[in-house]
């Protein structure tokens, strides 16, 4: 396996240094007339996005071209390709790990997911949905930015380990219709229909619908001594709409996913039909941007989200269904002003109000009906924030921000951030970053209690958890098309909320379990090379440990390695994308080990196989490696979940 990294890395590096960046070409181009220039073919199949060297973080970006080039199917696969991030799957949900943190029962509530600037985490679990449960089709994504580190100073709660910022495509990206169909192993099929139009005066709109089906696999679980037959199906439908004018953007994201669960989690009867979860959500948003004067601009946002969850759990014999239901409505608004009134300063300030209304959680046996939980709560959050970016000459930039939040009956939280950016050269930035963030316990952690075997009990003493992150970043452009990022960081989490199991009472509960500290280093090189070759190679080392005992956390790999290489062939008629992802071993909740692994994925695209037809073929887990993700304690006695072997996807997109 090690040898494989070496070959992939060597190939990438050879390519990087064998080719210059060829600035001489510009002078020749100026000899051409503009009419001739308009006939020149642009080499931009995969665009290398320039990243803001001034940003107060080491931001990772994945673009729509990358999503096509590497055949990403979910948002989780997109962010899983980024520096320091890893995603685990337990055949139920996808869980995002950042810089050595990936907690069981976490449902990604420590990651803030924004789509076009609008919060997506729901009001019950505060879950950032990134797997097939996500209501946003990845084909509609223009780019995804991941901002690691404490982000509460701007965004408030849940921006704990980082912020995922998804920017969607516009009607002008389509100017017509597109139909896409995909098929793959495990009885997988997907259809999408999209129409986009752009009118005069900058207005445009986009409408898209997708449906997805996966029959799934039969999984053998040694811990249960048997196979879960035909219990892995995954079905979803999503709808997306966006309307833009010069100043106003309206958005709609809706989706429904149902997933069967083969793992008999929460002490269910193994291999019993009927165990599944259904997640539904619909979000409406509006954003209004206006320049009030040359030095002051306004962004106003409003949003409303309805979320519903149903989970069926099968117990017995005799078999009976225990059902979980949750629903919540979230609505709110934000006013944000950006002022450049003072020379050399950019001040952003704003206020946000968010209401979580009618957050309801129920648990009952379906027949005969016995209710174990019926809780209904409402909550509201009020936040104000200010951030000032001060330039001291050309070389020094200071970014200071603070946000104060009042959350219902929980203690209020103040989250500061401080960033010092020094640019000794225009292409080099050294960043010294400090931030604090918080996450209040979500409704599930606070109010969920069921008086059944392997049920839950509440914990009235639950407090918000907090993080302090410190980071030193070096970003350097080796040339206009090559860039390196190096980072050293340290995170200290206090009052971390984690799912605990009380063996005596046979109940799960949430508690602020002491403290956790993590430190690590990351290194990444990105290059856009001659001939349209794009490469990214990165490695990270991290140690996340329990503050009291000093032992390494579960589901926390010491090392991660990622390499992405994409290149065109035959005059851009064909493009190949090769991805290698590797990580070292991880401890499981039950004390065993999920061994380290390396997998490779290969995607070939023919963008114009026929007129308006794009065809792509992806081979995931190219070398058919067997690998596992650690399971949460709710899967006991299963300690780790086997991931997919080699599988293929064929996709056709037709524009008309």
């Amino acid at each position: 396996m090690r040898q494989m990294y070496l070959h992939a890395t060597a190939a990438a590096c050879l390519l990087a240094f064998a080719m210059g960046d060829g600035r001489a070409a510009v002078a020749d181009l100026t000899e051409l007339s503009i009419e001739q220039l308009m006939q020149v073919e642009v080499q931009s199949a995969s665009k290398f996005r320039q990243q803001a060297i001034d940003a107060p973080a080491a931001v990772s970006v994945v673009t729509a071209d990358d999503i096509r080039s590497f055949g990403y199917r979910t948002l989780g696969e997109v962010i899983g390709s980024m520096r320091g991030v890893y995603v685990s799957y337990d055949r139920y949900f996808s869980y995002v790990g950042v810089r050595g943190f990936a907690r069981a029962g976490d449902y990604n509530s420590r990651i803030l997911l924004l789509v076009d600037g609008i919060r997506q985490n729901d009001s019950v679990f505060n879950q950032a949905m990134v797997g097939t449960e996500s209501p946003l089709d990845v084909d509609l994504i223009d780019r995804v930015e991941f901002v690691p580190g404490a982000g509460s100073s701007v965004y408030g709660s849940n921006a704990f380990f980082g912020v995922i910022n998804v920017i969607t495509k516009n009607g002008s990206d389509y100017r017509g219709s597109e139909a896409a169909a995909a098929a793959g192993n495990y009885g997988t099929g997907k259809l999408r229909l999209t129409h986009g139009a752009a009118g005069d005066g900058g207005a445009d709109w986009l409408l898209s619908g997708s449906s997805y089906y996966q029959r799934g696999q039969d999984h053998f679980y040694p811990a249960h001594g048997g196979r879960a037959d035909d219990l892995d199906s995954d079905r979803s439908g999503t709808l997306f709409a966006k309307l833009r004018t010069a100043e106003l953007t309206l958005g709609l994201i809706a989706g429904r996913r149902s997933k069967e669960n083969p793992t008999a989690s929460f002490g269910q009867t193994f291999n019993a039909r009927g165990s599944e979860s259904v997640d539904e959500s619909a979000s409406l948003s509006a954003e209004y941007r206006k320049a009030l004067s040359t030095a002051l601009s306004l962004t106003a946002r409003g949003y409303a989200q309805e979320y519903r969850y149903r989970g069926d759990f099968i117990y017995g014999p005799p078999l009976y269904t225990n059902r979980d239901e949750a629903e919540g409505r979230m609505w709110g608004g934000e006013l944000q002003f950006t002022s450049t009134h003072f020379r050399g300063q950019r001040i952003v300030f704003g206020a946000e109000y968010r209401r979580d209304d009618g957050v309801r959680q129920k648990n009952f046996d379906v027949a005969p009906y016995v209710s174990y939980l019926d809780s209904r709560v409402s909550d509201s959050t009020r936040g104000i924030y200010v951030q000032d970016e001060i330039a001291f000459g050309e070389r020094v930039l200071l970014n200071v921000g603070v946000r104060h939040d009042n959350i219902g009956d929980a203690p209020s939280a103040t989250s500061p951030r401080l960033a010092l950016i020094y640019k000794p050269l225009p292409q080099t930035a050294v960043k010294l970053l400090y931030g604090e963030a918080y996450r209040p316990p979500n409704a599930f952690e606070r109010y969920y209690a069921t008086d059944i075997p392997s049920g839950y009990r509440t914990n009235p003493n639950l407090k918000p958890e907090t993080i302090r992150s410190r980071e030193l970043v070096l970003e350097h452009a080796l040339s206009p098309s090559q860039r390196i990022v190096a980072s050293l960081y340290r995170n200290d989490v206090a009052n971390l909320i984690a799912q605990q199991y009380d063996a005596v009472a046979d109940r799960f509960y949430f508690d602020n379990v002491a403290s956790v500290r993590a430190k690590g280093a990351e290194l990444e090189w990105t290059g856009r090379l001659r001939g349209g070759v794009v490469a990214r190679v990165g490695a990270s080392w991290q140690r996340a440990e329990d503050g009291a005992s000093g032992t390494r956390l579960t589901n926390s790999p010491a090392r991660l390695f990622k390499a992405n290489l994409s290149a065109p062939f035959r005059d851009e008629q064909l493009r190949a994308g090769l991805e290698v992802q590797a990580m070292s071993s991880r401890k499981t909740e039950l004390g065993s080990v999920a061994p380290g692994f390396a997998i490779a994925n290969l995607t070939l695209i023919a963008p114009k196989l026929a007129r308006n037809l794009e065809v792509s073929a992806s081979l995931y887990n190219l070398f058919d490696r067997r690998y596992f993700d650690p399971a949460g304690s709710e899967l006991d006695p299963i300690d780790r979940v086997e991931q997919n072997g080699r599988n293929v996807r064929l996709k056709l997109s037709y524009r008309f």
Partner: protein, 175 residues
């Protein structure tokens, strides 16, 4: 056995990637092409006499952007007996720039760009869809592998700039 197979596949892929770099040489890197377009925009724009001081015509762009590197290939060239100079946008003040080239990285600097171009005859050019919407005069767009551009001639006219009809004829949209 497995390892050897893997090596062969990887070696094949690497060889193909290297070979492909040569095959695509007739295509032009996007930033280089944009720089050449900007050179043409400058050629086909007429500034009011009082806006042009000295012997040079200054293009301002962010040093952090990839386009800045490409524009260095244009700097020093003569247009209508004036030499093109390249200047970092970050420390430009009103009157420094005759052309402002803004890219995606400049989105946060929009108010500063407005201030630097306000009241003066400054041609504003961008390749970023957001900034086109924010009222830049010329927007460059890549469509179907070719570069094209849109012109807001009303805005240019208000700033006292005269854009040649040859350029306007070639533009995809003229406002």
């Amino acid at each position: 056995m497995r390892l050897r197979l893997r090596f062969r596949v990887l070696a094949a892929i690497a060889t193909c990637l290297v070979a492909s770099a040569g095959v695509c040489a007739q295509q032009v890197p996007e930033e280089d092409l944009k720089a050449a377009f900007i050179y043409n925009f400058v050629q086909f724009t007429q500034w009011p006499k009082e806006a042009l001081k000295g012997a040079s015509l200054t293009i301002c762009a962010s040093q952090g952007s990839a386009l800045y590197g490409a524009l260095q290939g244009v700097a020093g060239k003569a247009v209508n007996e004036r030499r093109i100079a390249l200047h970092p946008l970050a420390d430009a003040v009103s009157g420094d720039c005759q052309v402002i080239v803004a890219t995606e990285v400049d989105r946060p600097r929009l108010p500063a760009i407005r201030r630097a171009s306000e009241g003066g005859a400054v041609l504003t050019v961008t390749d970023d869809s957001e900034l086109i919407r924010e009222g830049m005069m010329i927007g460059m767009v890549v469509e179907a592998g070719r570069m094209s551009f849109i012109v807001d001639n009303t805005r240019a006219g208000k700033a006292g700039l005269v854009i040649s009809s040859r350029l306007l004829r070639l533009a995809k949209i003229v406002q």
